[in-house]
Amino acid sequence: MIQAKRLLDCQTGDRFTVSQIRLEESLCHRLQALGIVPGCQIHVLYKKRIGTMVIRCRGARYALGAGAAKGIAGVRAI
């Protein structure tokens, strides 16, 4: 089953495919440079209650604040 949602709504262990990024331009560029672009796969490694998470994308680990995670839309594979 596939569910469309925001990265922020994912839980620890979820795998997520990015479909759209709606954030400030400069932040979009930063995520783009890290390889977080539509079509990429994200693995949520850890997530805090406040939404800050550690993700793995293209082999690298990133800490991502809730403000960034809520602007990343996509589908979660269950």
Binding site: E24, S26, L27, H29, R30, L31, Q32, A33, L34, G35, V37, P38, G39, C40, L45, Y46, K48, R49, I50, T52, V54, R58, G59, A60, R61, Y62, A63, L64, G65, A66, G67, A68, A69
Partner: protein
């Protein structure tokens, strides 16, 4: 020829730069260590070449100040060749910048660092194929072990004459398609399946929502307790040596029939002043040794994630905690580290709060005063200063949250590197740099401050004075003394020591030694003497604690103020920050003294 090192943050550019130039710039295992462009020279076959170490960047579209520095340099055409240092363990992301650098039409050589991590993961990379696909030379290096560095520089020195094959033109192609091509390249060159790394297992504990935060505070408390307790053990031989040196100097100078004022200047002024600072060297070494282990292991970046929630409630991202943590070593690089923050408002707020974090220069003051007045609770009293500093910084961040034009808070976006065993070379270099800084400060600022203070304490309006009470320094101290009475610090000697401490915080100690006429002030006998001399003025443990709080919070040092001025580019703002620091120091130490006096 000018050769620039460009690449993602934390990929080993500075380690390579140090290897070629013999420089000892700071390296550590977290993104954002280098925030300035640095230049050095490399001589090959009698020809001198300029090497430029640029701050890390993920792409040519910049996000933070230090990235702008790199972009400007690379696009200015000042570099004849660009060595693109890439983290082989994170190849897809690294190649995004590589493509942009190739498009910038400068000769590029790709230096693939951290190949050892790939090997540990059980993966292999076909370098020849990668070079063919990218159209640029690819050289494997291990910057930490200095492997492959001569092959790399040889290739770079002839890169401007080698015809490079253009990669597909990407200029107007969306990032998704660039990454699709990059993935094609990586799939074609990288073989083997990634094995679960140690990092994943360590993170399961260190980034745990509850345990992670507890472990962080336990680690920090352990760092400072070790600094106090072990440092004190190592201090004893130095105190003994200083004591012997003072007696020998006095006897020697007496034997040479030197005039009494010169003996006093050398023994009571210079040796007591500078010597008392040098005895704290073991504490300083231990503190920086522990901080370097944290920085080089890869734990530092995790702290940003751990603290993101708390910092978020103060209107800052977890990344803002990194300059604060660096502030526990030294305020100057900590203020400069604010450049890694995205918005000017966040930068200014971090610059404002970072000086409240207790730096290493304040450590000797706590050790001395806590040791003299709090007996077996000395370590606890000293440790509490770090807590008060942190809480004051947090309170100041909270107060400034709604001040000024409100901008959207930039969320945390930070790479978390793999954990690795700290490199002995990096740790030794880091600690040695700090020792050198400390000794240089003792030999320059503190030395001159001790002499100047001795002169100001022995010269008055009527010329050379026999009693310090009639000196220029006493006159200034007596003018300020009434202002310090509510803080329990109403002594002209303390006022003078605090003013002198603006040069460098350690000077508070050397000044007290000179002002109160106590030689070897940091020894057990010196601390006893300090306690009894101050007790004669009614100065007890509460006063000592208030003094520690005042020293913690008022102006860190002249160098820190100069850095704040250069980073904010505003004298008014710097003056405001200094006034705020003095105000906070006065209010909090007055609160400590007034409330403490009610109970004790």
């Amino acid at each position: 020829m000018t050769i620039a090192f460009a690449g993602n943050p934390n990929c080993g550019k500075t380690t390579l730069f140090n290897a070629y130039t013999g420089a000892s710039l700071k390296v550590a295992n977290w993104p954002g260590v280098t925030v300035e462009k640095k230049e050095g020279t490399y001589t090959c076959n009698g020809q001198q070449h300029t090497l430029v170490d640029l701050p890390g960047m993920y792409s040519l579209s910049t996000y933070t100040i230090e990235e702008r520095v790199s972009r400007q340099f690379l696009l200015s055409g000042a570099a004849d060749v660009v060595i693109n240092v890439a983290d082989a363990s994170c190849l897809s992301r690294s190649l995004y910048l590589t493509l942009q650098l190739i498009e910038a039409e400068r000769p590029v050589v790709l230096a693939l660092n951290m190949m050892d991590i790939l090997k540990k993961r059980g993966q292999r990379l076909d370098l020849e194929h990668l070079s063919q696909l990218l159209g640029i030379p690819v050289i494997p290096v291990c910057a930490r072990r200095r492997e492959g560095i001569s092959a790399l520089i040889k290739k770079a020195l002839c890169a401007d004459t080698v015809q490079q094959n253009p990669v597909p033109p990407f200029s107007h192609i969306p990032a998704e398609e660039r990454f699709a091509w990059i993935e094609f390249v990586v799939d074609a060159c990288l073989t083997g399946r990634r094995r679960a790394a140690r990092t994943d297992r360590a993170d399961a504990l260190l980034l745990h929502p509850l345990w992670g935060t507890c472990i962080f505070f336990i680690i920090m408390a352990a760092v400072f307790l070790v600094t106090f307790s072990l440092g004190d053990l190592a201090k004893a031989p130095l105190e003994f040596g200083l004591d012997r040196l003072c007696s020998a100097a006095r006897q020697g100078l007496d034997a040479l029939c030197t005039t009494p004022w010169l003996i006093s200047l050398i023994v009571d002024g210079i040796l007591s002043g500078v010597g008392s600072i040098l005895t704290f060297l073991p504490n300083i070494i231990l503190l920086f040794f522990a901080l370097s282990l944290l920085e080089d292991s890869g734990y530092m970046a995790r702290v940003a994630y751990i603290m993101d929630g708390i910092m978020g409630s103060l209107g800052l991202s977890g990344r803002a905690f990194l300059p604060m943590l660096l502030g526990m070593g030294c305020t100057v690089p900590a203020v400069m580290a604010s450049r890694t923050l995205e918005t000017r408002r966040d930068r200014l707020r971090v610059i404002l709060i970072t000086p409240f974090m207790s730096c290493s220069a304040r450590l000797p003051v706590y050790i001395l005063l806590a040791g003299a007045f709090f007996g077996k609770y000395a370590s606890l009293a000293a440790l509490s200063m770090y807590g008060i500093g942190l809480l004051t910084a947090a309170a100041m961040a909270w107060f400034t949250k709604n001040v000024g034009k409100k901008e959207k808070q930039a969320p945390l976006v930070l790479e978390l590197p793999d954990y690795k065993a700290p490199s002995p070379r990096t740790v030794i270099l880091y600690v040695w740099e700090k020792i050198r800084d400390y000794l240089t400060r003792a030999g320059t600022t503190i030395f001159l401050a001790s002499i100047l203070l001795w002169i100001l304490l022995h010269v008055g309006p009527s010329g050379f004075v026999s009693s310090m009470e009639n000196s220029f320094a006493a006159w200034v101290g007596q003018k300020i003394e009434p202002l310090l009475v509510p803080c329990g610090l109403g002594m002209w000697q303390i006022a003078v020591a605090l003013i002198a401490g603006i040069a460098a915080k350690e000077v508070v100690i050397s000044s007290l030694a000179v002002l109160l006429g106590i030689s070897n002030i940091s020894s057990a006998a010196g601390m006893d003497a300090l306690r009894s001399v101050l007790a004669a003025y009614g100065f007890g443990p509460i006063n000592a604690y208030a003094l520690m709080v005042f020293v913690l919070l008022y102006i860190p040092c002249a160098a820190a103020l100069a850095t704040i001025c250069s980073e904010t580019k505003s004298r008014l703002w710097t003056a405001g920050a200094a006034a705020l620091q003095i105000g906070a120091a006065w209010i909090l130490s007055a609160l400590v003294y007034q409330i403490g006096s009610l109970f004790l």
